[in-house]
Amino acid sequence: MSTQTAAALPEGAITPSGEIVRYTYKERLCHWTNGVTYVFCLCTGLAFYSPYLYWLSVVGGGPMAARMLHPWVGVFFYLAVVWMHTMWKQQMASIPEDQQWKDKIKDYVENNDDAVPPQGRFNAGQKLFYWVMYYGALVLLITGILMWFPEKWRGLHGIMSVVNPLHAAAALATIGAFIIHVYMGILMVSGGFEGITKGTVTKEWAQHHHRLWYDKMTRR
């Protein structure tokens, strides 16, 4: 083996313990940068969204600090999204197998995995989540910048009553996707969380969930 630790191996490499590398170090770093910045914006944003959740602003250091930090972290979130896009843009594109998977979505949800066709590195559901976050982040960025210093664009005063709820609506869309994403990663698809933290998954996991990807990685 090379001098690299298991945590820094390339995608598809087999570790000494017999596991396969699912995500590289760079990919995991990117994912968690996205995650942490998103969660910060989520907590502080929810505080400004509903009085019942105003207490969440403690995450940002109090309401005034949260108002100040939220847009900065939001920009970092967007940069993280762009970073992820440079890495995974092609891999998140639609392929014909995605439609076959979508046709069997009921089986997938009910954990009837034998009836589900084999998937590539990312299944259609993961791709959908990716694009919801990608476009959601773009809308959040544009509306967010307008909301950051409205005193600089006083002439746009008339459209702010649309910009503000649009920011909230885009955030809600990403939150819905996020709830499903976290649930699936932590509870529903066991082994998934280790994949995005440790970086490796068992060969059986790879064969079960992403057959086409496993075959491609091990064929060389």
Partner: protein, 292 residues
């Protein structure tokens, strides 16, 4: 500032009941009446407001108008706006309107504000900004149909006319009203001020101003600052006084249907995934996965 002498009616960004500060009986609603037909544009009210609130006088520059400056600011809460209006019959009207917060009964600023306690509406109708709780997000600017709240760019807090809540709380009239030399500013109960205003408007209509009337817009539930206008059919010519101000419909949508839809959706989302786990459990991977 929060005023212990006035009883609170509504608080921005506040979940649940008002708790302490709310009284069972409502005190009477106050009102400032501005009679634009007897205003001479002397600007004593501008100076009185600055003096009472402790703001400094500033250097201004000549700008081809009698108006002191182009707009109100975070530390300049009221401004006489001058406009030279050519009437359809060829005459000219030099209109002077004292511009400041209108203290709406249905305040768009309070509706939009997310910060608990940053905007307070008292039972007497005064809408006051509470600097300590302001987070400087400027949602209030979005909510206000009169474009009144102004940000202090260095402290990031928003300010506006307080209808001298501190003076009113001590039983005094606002500073501007006290300083007015022509008596075109009046202060008293909403009922009394409406009565005086209608009386004056009737007098004007009998004396050549057929369209004279009282400006007390219903779209924001009525205001606690009302105008007598020579021409109540065209408020816009008084330097852009909105003819039919309302809290923007998108702000209503944002703060009510969208918020509740979102809250319910998030709750259902979390409940849904939990239920999914109970029903379907996690995905199982066989120890030795057979080749297809």
């Amino acid at each position: 500032m929060p005023n212990e002498n006035l009883t609170v009616k509504a608080i921005s960004g506040h979940p649940g009941a008002l708790g302490s500060g709310a009284a069972p009986e409502a005190s009477y609603e106050v009102c400032k009446l501005i009679d634009t037909t007897t205003c001479i544009g002397c600007k004593a009210c501008e100076v009185a407001c600055l003096e009472w609130n402790g703001y400094e006088f500033r250097e201004t520059t000549f700008d081809n108008t009698y108006q002191t400056m182009p707009d109100t600011e975070w530390n300049y809460w009221n401004l006489i706006r001058f406009s030279e209006h050519e009437n359809s019959d060829g005459t000219l009207s030099w209109l002077m309107r004292k511009d400041q917060c209108m203290h709406c009964a249905d305040p768009g600023c309070l509706e939009a504000c997310p910060a608990d306690g940053a905007i307070v509406q008292y039972e007497n109708g005064i809408v006051d900004f509470n600097e300590e709780h302001c987070i400087g997000c400027q949602y209030c600017v979005t909510g206000c149909p009169f474009n009144i709240p102004r940000l202090n760019p260095s402290t990031k807090k928003v300010f506006k006319c307080s209808l001298c809540s501190d003076r009113v709380g001590a039983g005094l009239e606002p500073a501007c009203v006290k300083s007015c030399p022509t008596g075109c500013l009046h202060f008293g109960s909403k009922e009394d001020m409406k009565f005086e205003a209608e009386k004056r408007a009737t007098q004007l209509r009998k004396n050549g101003f057929e369209h004279a009337g009282v400006y007390d817009p219903a779209g924001v539930g009525g205001t606690h600052v009302i105008y007598v206008l020579h021409d109540a059919d065209d408020p816009e010519k008084y330097s852009g006084l909105p003819a039919n101000p309302t809290v923007p419909i998108m702000v209503r949508f944002w703060k009510h249907p969208l918020k509740w839809l979102g809250n319910v959706a998030m709750l259902l989302g979390v409940a849904g995934v939990m239920t999914h786990y109970l029903r379907f459990g996690p995905k199982e991977v066989d120890a030795k996965e057979a080749k297809r």
